[in-house]
Symmetry: C2
Subunit: 463 residues, 2 copies
């Protein structure tokens, strides 16, 4: 991949808006725009302007005026990519966006690959690899928690910690390798007790980071919650109350919600993925049976289960309800289960007492009026360990980092064991080099084209 050519892409979301931003980066970015730009202030080319300045004018080709635009000039190395960058803020018509990009392609630009702007930023040392990855996470973030974690990672919190440990470790590695050169003289440049202390410190940090991945995973992907219950108990209405929008199909006919409907909602800054299921009512109907099978599949995938029933219909036969609850509890003893009596607005006080006495820990709800929805969301939040998040600790969300951390941890344990058993310097050095390698994988000191290709292919074009 050559880094000298100039790339162009739409930087803003595709679609029609008030404005759109077309971005160029590369050694010819400024000169290419200069050939197409006619400033309202005559005389000065963009090349002659200071970095971080904005210029009003028209994008033209021969006599044709494409648009009135604002052009922002960023001169290397003071830009996102570290190269010369020009951002053109044009009117947000799809047609103009396309024509503008075509124009720059005709004038010597090349269409940017997915993530190529950020790749260049990485290759030019503006970001390390984990920071670059956080850019994509940041754009994908859709709730407070995932946003906060990505922001923290992008600001280098996590990788700077790794980089610091890596440097210390590298230092010791050098000293131990130096000892090997003087092997005959039996000197010890690397203080073994200081080295042990460092290894302990690294072990501690790695363990904390590795443990954080469970929380990180939940934060990044949202917590799957299955809503289980017989048809027509109000699952879709609850989902709608939770989503505060009409995504699920609500119908009076029992059994209509056969397909599962998934949607994500942010509660208290945490993403929850609600999964509407067809319930587990015993039936002879083939289609219904398929629904029940699907329900159990969905419970398998969920981290939390909500069991919902209709208090009006079930008040005279709570036994069926308790049997179904037991069925779920027995099948999934580890999974948190929240039992909810819905349509509580339609039953009397005696029924409510009965519900409380026969089903322990029951929650009362009226999905229709909204009564009990807040208590439910609170109960969901209580289930999640958000301590780490609240304490602003570094959290690992990227499975590539997790893998590298696990491998580094493994190697560090070998080093630790080697130190304890008085392993010879040359063998110790091999294990240290391995640990360093995995550290480097995270921050990008160690990369290869395949790895970079994989990472940046998941970016959007224009970033």
């Amino acid at each position: 991949m050559t880094q000298q050519d100039t790339i162009v892409a739409l930087a803003t979301a595709s679609g029609s808006g008030a404005i759109a931003v077309v971005r160029l980066s590369g050694s010819s970015a400024i000169s290419i725009v200069d050939t197409c730009f006619r400033s309202v202030v005559k005389g000065k080319t963009l090349a002659a302007q200071a970095t971080h300045t904005i210029h009003l004018g028209h994008i033209v080709e021969n006599d044709r005026v494409f648009d009135e635009v604002l052009v922002s000039v960023f001169k290397n190395p003071n830009s996102y990519t570290g190269e010369d960058v020009v951002e053109i803020s044009c009117h947000g018509s799809l047609y103009i966006q396309q024509e503008m990009i075509q124009l720059f392609l005709r004038n010597g630009c090349r269409m940017a690959d997915a993530g190529e702007f950020t790749l260049r930023a990485f290759l030019n040392g503006k970001l390390d690899l984990s920071q670059a990855e956080a850019v994509a996470d940041l754009i994908a973030s859709d709730n407070e928690a995932s946003h906060q974690v990505a922001m923290q990672q992008m600001r280098g919190g996590f990788s700077s910690e790794i980089a610091k440990l890596r440097e210390e470790l590298l230092n010791f590695a050098s000293l131990i390798e130096l000892e090997l050169d003087f092997a005959e003289e039996d000197v010890e440049f690397a203080d073994r007790s200081q080295f042990k202390e460092l290894v302990e410190r690294i072990t501690f940090v790695l363990k904390r980071l590795i443990d954080s991945f469970a929380v990180g995973n939940v934060i990044k992907n949202g917590i799957p919650v299955a809503i289980v219950g017989e048809p027509n108990v109000g699952k879709s209405t609850l989902l709608n109350a939770l989503l505060n929008e009409e995504r699920a199909i609500v119908s009076e006919i029992a059994g209509t919600t056969r397909d599962t409907i998934e949607d994500e909602i942010s509660i208290g800054g945490i993403g929850f993925r609600f999964i509407d299921t067809a319930g587990i009512r015993e039936t002879k109907d083939v289609v219904e049976s398929i629904g029940i099978k699907k329900t159990f599949e969905k419970i398998d995938q969920a981290q939390v289960v909500i069991y919902l029933f209709d208090s009006v219909k079930s008040i005279s036969d709570l036994k069926t309800i308790t049997i179904e609850i037991e069925k779920i509890r027995n099948k999934y003893p580890q999974k948190p289960l929240i039992v909810i009596a819905n349509k509580i607005d339609k039953v009397d006080d005696i029924s409510i007492s009965k519900l409380h006495s026969e089903i322990p820990d029951i929650k009362l709800l009226s999905a229709k009026t909204g009564f009990g929805v807040e208590q439910l969301t609170n109960a969901l939040l209580d289930l999640i360990n958000t301590g780490a998040l609240r304490n602003n600790e570094t959290i690992v969300t990227n499975s590539r980092h997790y893998d590298a951390l696990l491998k580094a941890f493994e190697e560090i344990q070998k080093v630790k064991h080697g130190l304890e058993t008085g392993l010879s310097g040359d063998l110790l050095a091999i294990d240290i080099r391995q640990a360093l390698y995995h550290f480097g994988e995270i921050t990008g000191e160690i990369t290869n084209d395949d790895l970079l290709g994989n990472i940046f292919a998941n970016f959007c074009i224009g970033k």
Copy 2:
């Protein structure tokens, strides 16, 4: 509506992208952003920065970092709205966009109404009304012709012509009204022959502009073309070939394309709206009959008709085809009709000779292989009078302008008649004032809140 408060809106298309731009305008725009912005270069507030400069930093609230952003500062009157404007280029996550806007709302901004940025630009004299309207047209433009017309209007080509004539007319109006003050002395300040010459000039310009509306309308809305033919002759395939994408449902079962499918395609810079119809085959099937009725309704709306038939199936019975063609020709004698024999790749040379001899002006096509598609698009372009467009003449596309021009024309005719019949100055003055009023409606010298409300309500929020 008070113009002092500071408004905020997302300026880029909604959705996820590499970056998004949040825009603030108003007297507190810079100070509000200053409270939330922590520059990477310490010490200077945004208020202390020069206009048209860009600053890297973080948007923060208390200890929470929202995003790393680029902030562009525009100081009044050198901005789009003429007020202080700040544009914040942030990461394009929906979550960040929303949080960012919420943050500014908490800090004293108000959500912008649709088109409010452009309305302020108009009220602050940065644009006249017809230029402001062209901004919306420009964003909506989806082909070269509509883009060019909107661009021309936005650059003031049309309204500056009107404004110049208005000024000259206003001059004469003043002189004639002055004469009224000196009525007893019977003086003539306004040279009647010069005035006649001006009225002639205005008449000429108005007529040209009014006539251009027919072309303008076509350019703005696209030219509707009905594709008529029996089921399964390949209408959907032709539509797909023209659209170069799979929008229409193509099926082997005759009669499946009962609903009309509309799509717009830009050919040679002109927008064509293709209308796929169910054909006019005689049938007893009720659903098919409804389809035929719909076909004729669609032909009513179309400016051009394409009649398409299957050469393989019809070669032995070209009589049915010629009857159907006659039917359309008789019903719509004024409408251009293009007759096309499709699936020409499947017939032999003798059949082709037969087609040419029995149906004059027939065009041969294979929608499947693409043979003849280009000839068809050329034929369509030939039908459209794009002379005005090619000559870069001013074209009126806005029906509000058209109405005002018609009314102004009417009043100018009265003035002309008055001049010819020696109408008294006081009566002449009334007609001139009326004409001036309608001129002013176009450029916005004459406005009212209802009119402005109507115009800017059609804008997107953020523009």
